[in-house]
Every structure is written in structure tokens, then in C-alpha cells.
Amino acid sequence: MTSADLKPTPSLDAPRNIKGRSQFAIAFSRLRRKKLGMIALTTLALIYLIGAFAPVIDTHGYTDTNLLRTQEGPDTQNILGTDRLGRDTYSRLVWGIQTTAIVTLTTVLTGSIVLGVTLGLIAGYFRGTPDTLISRLGELVSAFPDILLIILLAATLRPRVLDWFRSIEDSTGVSGLISTGFADFLVLGIALLPLSWFGTMRLVRGQVLQIRESDYVEAARAMGTSTPRILFRHILPNIISPVIVTASIGLGAVAGAEIILGFLGLGVQPPRPSLGVLIADATGRGSTAVSTLTQHPEQLLAPIAVVWLLIFAWNILGDALTDVFNPRSR
């Protein structure tokens, strides 16, 4: 593999070292020696691949009901059996993984990486008024009990956003924005923002406050380097590793919040499944569907096993990345 393949996101624009090995190549070669970290990485790749190829590997459509075969156990026709509407549990699981994969990745990329890093760079580098504004906003957001704010945002925004999309669809003739779940993903992305940006912002801000005083930034400034270039070429590459670590730990939390929303019926809307919806269907939203649970535990055990693996793998990877990027911590 070349070092170019190993960059997590090309947009980060890592500096090409004179020696030809980027910090990500070095980090990855260290990670490869960590058995658990590699197992976690493989598991994650597998889960996200399943999500990406959901249309290919499902055996039935996720909306296909077969009322002649409801509440069936696993057999050759339905690998994980069927639910009370005769829908194939395996196919719904695969599509549920896709939903969770999309929501977690987009939330972390937009909220944590783009928004958190940008605001942190601004607050730390320019200090003064922007810093006060951003930090106070962060203080306000962190004063909310986060899950409550997320629920409140999701419940309040959804109808507004749906109305808005409907009017766009009507006036432009574009269809499918709502039915493909795009509007749902947007609502979820916004609702999950408070959970994702603040931690990264504070972390980046703290690092930038130190680095902006260093000699090499001073030198760059003296040579008349433009401010964006200083920020993105000289400061960002030096602070990106802790950001990656927090992002990978944060992904577990975002996945959890998305599943809670799905569980409460505030996530992606039916018929599109998500892991939270699957768990809620098996437990019966609030009051326990005892008969389903006793006779068909696979309807519950399959989605919770996937969720557990997903969050567990993100935690292990985060732990391994901490060691990889910061060997002194041991």
C-alpha cells in the first residue's frame, strides 16, 4: 500500500513529508501491530460494508410483507425468520445497519470533524470576540441534558423540515427526497449536532491556543504566510490526531443516540428500518411484547448483537488509536 491510500479522508490534506511517509502511514503501521485494534477495524469495515451493500445482500425487500408467513423462526427461506408483518428480519437488519451507518458517519464528519474543527480553529487562533461567542455557545449547549435536547430537536424539526422538502418537491418537480429518507437523515444530522461538535471544538481550541505561540507558526507568520494557510497547513496537521481519537470514541455515542431516537419513533420513519426501530419492534415500544420475546428472541438478539459489536468495536479502535497517536500515554 502507498501512503496515499491510508489517509482517512483526502480532504484533510496531510502534509507530504520529505521522507515520504505521512503521519497517517506511520500511525497505521503502528496500528497494524495492535491485534485488538485490527480486529475492531476489520469488524467495523465489515459492518459498514454490509450497510453499503444492503441492496445487494438482502434476500427480501425491507417492506415486503408476507402475511402467510408471520412470526416464523429462522429457516431456509428467511435466514432470521420473519416479524409480525411477515417481513424478513435479516433483510430489515441489513437495511437497518445502512441507516445507522449513514447517520453516524455523516454526523461525525459534518458535526465533529468539519464544524468542531473549524470552530475550534477560529476560537483558538483568533481568540477575542469569536472565542467568547463560540465558547459561550458551547457552554449553553453543554448545559442541556444532551439526550433531552436531541429528542426535543428531532420532534420539533421533523415536521418543519418535511414541509419544507414537500414544498421543494412540489415546486421543482424533483421527487424522492422524502421517500428515500433524505429528509429524515437531515433532521437526524441536525438533532445530533449538539452531541458532536462541542467536544471536538474544545479539544481543538485548547491545542491551537498552545501551538499558535510556537516558533514555527511565528516564523510562518513572519514570512507573510496567509492566515488560512497557517491554519490548515501548519496548525491543523499537528492537532489532527487527538481529533481522530475523539471522533472514533464519539461515533459510539452518536450511534447510541441515533438508536434511542429510532427506538422512540423519532428517527428515520417507517417503513425504512433502523437498528433502533428493530429493537423497539421486538420489545414493543414501551410495554414489552412478551410473546414475541419468548418465542422469537432472534428478533431482539440479532439487532442488539450488531449494535453492541458496533459500539464495542468503535471503543476498542478509539483505545488503540490513543496508544498509536500518543505512545507516551502508556
Binding site: A143, P145, P159, R160, S287, L293
Partner: protein, 309 residues
């Protein structure tokens, strides 16, 4: 130091007022109409208009908010839109007490198992036990309540038939065990990891060597020197954790059918019962903000080296 505490104390009500404002704005621009929900089948445009006037919903949002803050200062949080004629305190009070008991039980489990486990693993650093406990804690941290609760019900209530599926009988009833453990499990892992790291820090300090070289008994060194110092940085997280338990308790209460605040909190959000929603968010925010303030204050008492400014 004193000036800092006073500044923080003065800032707290301002922060809470802004929190309530955010909820007000969300309420005003959100969908649905509380008047419609409240009138139900008796809905006529005239009745709605009369009720709206009576509840003050026709005033500009800023005026409504100002009125709310003014009465909230006098500890009057208004009447519920949905539960007619009952104040927010009457609706939330008994349910809050149930949730509080559940959270305290969960917190005791979290701290009671997490701290000793972390201390124990730190003392055995370098043996096989250490990495395996780290792995186990990572596995436990990946067990949010929406996984544990249905799984416990399936295993302990339905398969093994040890406990009833749901229900509530107060703090000293055995039915509290399952929900409290459910909420506490991820926390145990967090505290084990924190306590382990913190104890390892203290173990390397000079004053531990001094204590040992004075010939103090190992138990005295363990508890008076190591454990007590290791607990100081953990206190911060305790404040956060206790406030954070409320989030996990929401889902847990729903699944186990516990008559706490969860059901009403969610219903009030969906039914646009904003006096309840605002009060609920404010309770959570107050716990977070005041909790952190208290912890910072206790910090300076137990560790005089720390000076806030």
C-alpha cells in the same frame, strides 16, 4: 477565589434563563398547537381563541418568555396544558421522586462496583488481569440501556423467571434491581477505567514511597494515601455521571414500565405541553450546572493545591 465563585453563582441563573429561552423558541416555532391538543373534541375556533388569550399564547414570544422567567423566579412554573388544572409541580413531583430513587440506586451500583474494581486492577498492573479488565470494561461501555434492558427482560424475567417483567415498588423492592443495574452497567466500566488511571498516577508519586518508607502498614497506605488521592480527579466525573444518568433512565423507565418522569417527558414533547417540557429541561440543566459548580467547590476543599480563578 471568592470572586470566582460569586461570578459563577451569578452566571448560573443567566445560563438557565437562556436555556429556557431556547426551549421557548423551539416551542413557538415547532409544529402542533397546544390549544388544539387541550380542547380535543371540543375544538371550536372561538373556544381556541378564548383559551389562547387566557393562556397568554397570543402575546409575542419574548413577552411570554419574560413572564415565564418572572414567575419561575418565584418558583411558579405554570400549569400543564394537557393535565388541566394541575401545576407543573403537581404533575412532575411524584414522578421525579421515583426517577430520583432509581437514579440513586444506579449511581450507587456504578460507584460501588467501579471504584474498587479500578483500584484493584491498578494495583495489579502488569499481570494478566490488567489488560483483560480493560477489555471487559470496553465491552461493558458498549452496552447502552436500550440493549441491556430488553436483554435482561428476555433473560431474567422470561427465560429464568427470577423477577417480574416490569413494575415498581420503591427503593427497597427487588424490582428496582434490574433497572438500576441496567442504567449502572456502562458507568461501572467508565469508573473502573478512570479509577485505574487515577490510581496509577498516584502510585508513582513520591509521597507514596515516603509513606511506605515510614513503615506504615500497607492498608493505611492503600486507603489513606492512595485511594483518597486517587478519588480527587474522579469527583468531577461523578457530577457529570449523576446528571447523565437521567438520560439513560428515560429509556430504562419506558421499557420496564416504571412510573417515573420518562413517559411524561416524552409525551409532553410530542403533545407540545411546553410548561412541562420547559420545567423538565430546566431541572436537567440545573442539575448539570449546579452539580458542576458544587463539585468545583468541593474540589478546592479536598485538594487545597487547586485554586480556581
Amino acid at each position: 477565589m471568592l470572586a470566582y465563585m460569586i461570578r459563577r453563582l451569578l452566571w448560573t441563573p443567566v445560563l438557565l434563563a437562556i436555556v429556557s429561552m431556547v426551549v421557548f423558541v423551539l416551542g413557538a416555532y415547532g409544529p402542533g398547537d397546544p390549544v388544539e391538543v387541550r380542547l380535543g373534541q371540543n375544538y371550536t375556533p372561538e373556544a381556541a381563541e378564548r383559551l389562547r388569550e387566557q393562556l397568554g399564547l397570543n402575546d409575542p414570544i419574548a413577552v411570554q418568555w419574560g413572564r415565564y422567567v418572572w414567575s419561575a423566579i418565584q418558583l411558579d412554573f405554570g400549569e400543564s396544558f394537557v393535565f388541566q388544572g394541575r401545576t407543573v409541580g403537581e404533575v412532575l413531583g411524584p414522578r421525579l421522586w421515583v426517577s430520583a430513587q432509581l437514579n440513586i440506586a444506579a449511581f450507587l451500583i456504578t460507584v460501588g462496583f467501579g471504584l474498587p474494581l479500578g483500584f484493584y486492577t491498578a494495583k495489579r498492573q502488569g499481570t494478566w488481569l490488567d489488560p483483560s479488565i480493560v477489555l471487559v470494561t470496553l465491552a461493558l461501555m458498549a452496552l447502552p440501556v436500550f440493549i441491556v434492558a430488553p436483554f435482561f427482560i428476555w433473560l431474567f424475567a422470561l427465560q429464568l423467571d427470577w423477577v417480574p417483567v416490569s413494575g415498581w415498588g420503591g427503593f427497597f423492592d427487588r424490582r428496582i434491581i434490574m433497572p438500576a443495574v441496567t442504567i449502572g452497567v456502562p458507568g461501572i466500566a467508565v469508573f473502573t477505567r478512570l479509577m485505574r488511571a487515577s490510581t496509577l498516577d498516584v502510585l508513582g508519586q513520591e509521597y507514596i514511597r515516603t509513606a511506605r518508607s515510614k513503615g506504615l502498614a500497607e492498608t493505611v497506605v492503600n486507603y489513606r494515601h492512595i485511594a483518597r488521592n486517587a478519588l480527587i480527579p474522579i469527583m468531577t466525573i461523578m457530577g457529570f455521571t449523576f446528571a447523565g444518568l437521567f438520560g439513560g433512565a428515560l429509556i430504562t423507565e419506558l421499557i420496564y414500565g416504571i412510573p417515573g418522569v420518562a413517559r411524561i417527558a416524552l409525551d409532553s414533547i410530542l403533545a407540545r405541553d411546553f410548561p412541562i417540557v420547559t420545567a423538565f429541561v430546566l431541572i436537567g440543566a440545573t442539575m448539570l450546572v449546579v452539580g458542576n459548580l458544587l463539585i468545583d467547590f468541593i474540589y478546592t476543599v479536598v485538594d487545597p493545591r487547586i485554586r480556581l480563578q
